[in-house]
Amino acid sequence: MNLSEFLPSGIELSYLVAAGLFIVGLKKLGSPASARQGNLVAAIGMLVAIVATLLNQGVLNYQMILVAILLGSAIGAVMAQRVEMTAMPQMVGLLNGFGGAASALVAIGEYWRYMQQAEIPLSETVTIILSVLIGGITFTGSMLAFVKLQGLITGQPITFGFQQPFNISLLIAFLVGSGLLIAHPHSSTIFLGLTTISLVLGVLFVLPIGGADTPVVISLLNSFSGLAASAAGFVLNNNMLIISGALVGSSGIILTQIMCKAMNRSLSNVLFSAFGSAKKFEEAAGEGSQDRTLHTIDAEEGAMMLGYARSVVIVPGYGMAVAQAQHAVRELADQLERLGVDVKYAIHPVAGRMPGHMNVLLAEANVPYPQLYDMDDINPEFDRVNVALVIGANDVVNPAARTNQSSPIYGMPILEVDRAQHTIVIKRSMNTGFSGVENELFYKDKTMMLFGGAKDVVASLVTAVKELN
């Protein structure tokens, strides 16, 4: 058997190896001890797949490909080095979008190649349409999520009149267009129309989702980027793409489910209800909220409460991420531990803007892993906690989720900080959380409010705690 006969089988076998490495890598990513190794294994799998593809005899354009790979690597490496840990949600969104765009471009390129031929097989037309649809939605959806997270436009849900009917008519237009393209596969006008609709659909899909629902949409888009790669695999009849895309697709779906469960809402509710934007939650709690009193304290008093407590539980939220206060928080915990206080961190699954957001930030600040507690583990302990310190979190600690049936967040599992002996809430202002719901926790007699930016307030707490001895 000479080389040119062996090569195609060799490439397929290399793909099999690469797919195996991806599976092993993902498996290892699921356990803290082996996660880093798992990432490396997956990266090696990617290298194997790329090298094998370059050996394909149809790939001749080496110089330009080399330039493209070097350019992409340089940009990717710089991005990965520079990005702040607090900006990880945007980073993931952006990379997601690039992956989706690449898949869509592959399909468009293939369509163009088929256009030059007399006949386009039906299966090709169908898979190309699907690939452009998923890739296009992933691309513009992720870009919009990036723009929202970066704060370039408002992070709140954006809605307009007749949004749902408009979306549905666009979908119908897409279906009709697909039918037309199958009947007239050579019509580039129809194809362009379909591409445009896909891109618009991506924007419309993310537009009404905002704020605290972002972890769901980020993990869903992650899943889509995998499905887009799979679809491109169907276009090219390439198993490597199909397998890897399916793996990413299913992992993204699992994360999406975990996020939805943590908010006690269904996926369709997250996607289509434009939560928190509408005024439909006419404040049932509005009555009386004006004449209730807030108890405010200053940093010295706060430091005293914390310093003389036996146990303190810190509850971080998106506010800590925005203020980049994670290092200051760690310092505060160190000072408290010096005074013999037992410090724990309570992490709500949807705190922040992506799955695991708080964990990454606290890891960056070198908080020991055993101090982080999941919601289910810490909730039974709050009865015995002296002070719960809430830093930039709101909806995830709102007792209305437990008690007020008319509240839009009713039923969402929360961190039960109201059962601690005292609660200190660090907050920039009295604005409501993302859900737009008033938080009765703030008005309780045992709740003390400490107003200010998370970083400044925690820093002054640190100074004040240092003076206790």
Binding site: A35, L60, N61, M64, I65, G72, M88, V92, E110, P368
Partner: protein, 97 residues
């Protein structure tokens, strides 16, 4: 000869099941690294991009393919590197703890 579309579907469905099984239980700490790591894997679109960009003659397909190669490479390199950066932080802290 079985239609390649059917073969593809079989492969797709089985791989999806493997994905569900492999990633079933995942501690919250690893949610972000898992997401960015699997995100990097979705950059596998680079394989498709290379095949599409491979033609020696310049045409629209090659241009689109090259653009796809750039984007997919950013996805792959950026994704794996940033995941490693994150996991490195977890590591450092484990040693301390």
């Amino acid at each position: 000869m079985i239609d390649p579309l059917i073969t593809g579907l079989v492969v797709f469905v089985l791989a999806t099941f493997i994905g569900f099984e492999v990633i079933n239980k995942i501690p919250p700490t690893l949610h972000t690294p898992l997401m960015s790591g699997s995100n990097a894997i979705s950059g596998i679109a680079i394989v498709g991009a290379l095949l599409v960009a491979g033609d020696k003659n310049w045409n629209l397909t090659v241009i689109l393919g090259l653009l796809a190669v750039v984007l997919a490479t950013i996805n792959v390199v950026g994704g794996f590197l940033v995941t490693d950066r994150m996991l490195q932080m977890f590591k450092k802290k484990d040693v301390k703890a």
